[in-house]
Amino acid sequence: MSDSATAPKRRLPQINPVWVLLTVLVVAIIFMNPRFIEPTGYMNFLKRAAPLAILAAGQVYVITSGGFDLSVGSLITLVVVGSSMLTNNDPTATYWVIPLMLAMGLGVGAVNGLVVCFLRVPSLIATLGMMITLNGLAFLWSGGAPRGYLPDTFRFFGRELIRDVPLVRFIPVSVIVLVVVVGLLAWLMHRTNLGRQVHAIGDNPVAARLAGVAVNRVRITAFMLSGLSAAIAGILLGGFAGVSTDVGSGYELQAITAAVLGGAQLLGGRGSVPAALGGALALTAIFTLLNFLGLPQPVRQVVQGLILIAAVAFAMHRRRQTGT
């Protein structure tokens, strides 16, 4: 169940390869652009990576429990579009819109979980249906042409910086959100019973049920956490990306890629929140690097595809070698 246990012969040191990859990428970025070691460089990098990292941390729960959540990208879109419709340029509206959006994230996750658990629809199809539905809702809500801006109070989380901090000069608010959310999710996954139960039902649902795990409740919780993380990511993205009906598209796949880069095992049983954070940072670092190299968008796609396949192939190879 856990990464470190029961490896009969250890060829490689027990360090998650994603950290090696991240280090190599960061060194490469610094080599290309020495100003990256200044706070402006790496803080902006972290700020850009924050939504994906939060999303990946939520996705890890669903993947570890043995499912997929494809609905997060469209949920982000719905959160951004919905917030812009609800706030209606009224700065004070932020204080009830944000809790409402978080509740919506939890609600969407709960529906996903209920459909998977009680209608017994495979999560791939259930969340795919949810993705199509939410995209339609976002269009329906905004009439196809969402209004162009959110009030500054709403954009605070995604855009503002806290200045005059010792050592680093400034910290973006989104980085603080990132640390808090990922920290909480990591604690929940690796230090509580819920996390152990998520691992158990992903590994062997029947065994987990026989051992007394409330399988349905844990799975629904996993989907709700994923939905909540998508809502938070949406609030951050609304802050610095602006309003459109495709802000979230593609994020579901990037989140899964990040989780997989972090060693999460598809179809369940293995997954780590800090490693998913590493995966998200590595993925963002790759995109940053390709940007520096001046490579166009299509190349980015090809590289993402190759990395995705290579990461899983490497993980499978490693697992066969260690025999776990």
Partner: protein, 328 residues
């Protein structure tokens, strides 16, 4: 469809799994007729109109037949949409309006499909990469390569090749007959050949199939090749229909996810080993009937999307709710 049913549970009598696609299809047809009558548009109930409804989903049908093969071996193919775009562009660029180049273009498209399918199959069965990830990566690679070279309609399809999409044989469009023929061939392969029964065996339980002496890797690879070739045929059809190829026609049609939805609505189980081509055809009919219902009823296009998502989930729940297993 009947080789590897879950026999131990109910041997004789009414088998729900077998008839469920037909029940759903009957339901969709009934809704279609009722909506047409209620809105007073009986002109939609003619034979010609029924043919027209079918004609709109031929590309989806061809793709879904291929997708049936990979889902039966408990794999999945998300690369079909970008492959459709790639083959459509490739074919129309190679033809470039000259009738003499039709055959080379078709061969090139099918070769590309075969190559992609072979790669998918090797990565899935050789490197043991989860098929979802393997084909998703492949999809990104194809789409990236494609949009690096073309950004708009490229090439031109000669009039002779447009016969594929627009020609008619008696009352039936050529493409519809082709789809029917393809379905019959797929059914025959699954029903009567050793390869067909190997597919069900591997999909049902890969390890057991290997112990029984089946070369499971080969079966998985061949299924992926079939799936990709079907997708490239769908690309050829779309090139012929649009008279040219563009790098977005596959992703615009969402052929990857829709073909999977069609297969699953047709009663093929995502976990593999159960289902068949006729269910997929029923799924395709259900999809196009629902679309027509929306059109007749004048549903707003955004609301249509919302309903569509709900219907996909509901249709799958219709089968799945009876299963006792914990699903992934």
């Amino acid at each position: 469809m009947s080789i590897a049913e879950d026999t131990p549970r109910r041997k004789a009598g009414f088998r729900f799994e077998r008839w469920a696609p037909l029940i759903l299809l009957g339901g969709a047809l009934a809704i279609y007729v009722v909506v047409a009558l209620v809105t007073g548009q009986a002109q939609y109930l003619t034979f010609d109109n029924l043919i027209a409804i079918l004609g709109r989903s031929i590309a989806l049908g061809i793709t879904a037949i291929g997708q049936t093969f990979v889902i039966l071996v408990a794999s999945i193919d998300l690369s079909v949409a970008s492959l459709i775009s790639a083959t459509a562009v490739l074919a129309s660029v190679v033809m470039d309006g000259s009738p003499a180049m039709i055959l080379p273009a078709i061969l090139a498209a099918i070769a590309l499909g075969g190559l992609v399918g072979l790669t998918n199959g090797l990565v899935v069965s050789g490197l043991k990469v989860n098929p979802l990830i393997a084909t998703l990566g492949m999809s990104l690679i194809i789409q990236g390569c494609l949009s690096a070279f073309v950004s708009n309609f490229a090439g031109e399809v000669p009039a002779a090749f447009q016969m594929f999409a627009y020609g008619e044989l008696g009352p039936f469009p050529v493409a519809l007959l082709f789809l029917g023929l393809l379905a019959v061939m797929a059914w025959a392969v699954l029903r009567f050949t050793k390869f067909g029964s190997d597919i069900y065996a591997v999909g049902g339980n890969e390890e057991a199939a290997r112990f029984a002496g089946i070369k499971t890797g080969r079966v998985v690879i061949l299924s992926h090749v079939i799936c990709s070739i079907c997708a490239s045929i769908a690309g050829l059809y779309l090139a012929s229909r649009l008279r040219s190829g563009a790098p977005w026609i596959g992703s615009d049609g969402v052929y990857d996810l829709e073909s999977i939805a069609v297969v699953v609505i047709g009663g093929t189980v995502l976990a593999g080993g159960r289902g068949g081509v006729w269910g997929t055809m029923a799924g395709m009919l259900i999809f196009s009937l629902i679309d027509s219902v929306f059109n007749i009823a004048g549903v707003d296009s955004f609301a249509k999307q919302v309903l569509r998502g709900i219907i996909i989930v509901a249709a799958v729940a219709f089968y799945a709710i009876r299963s006792k297993r914990i699903v992934a």
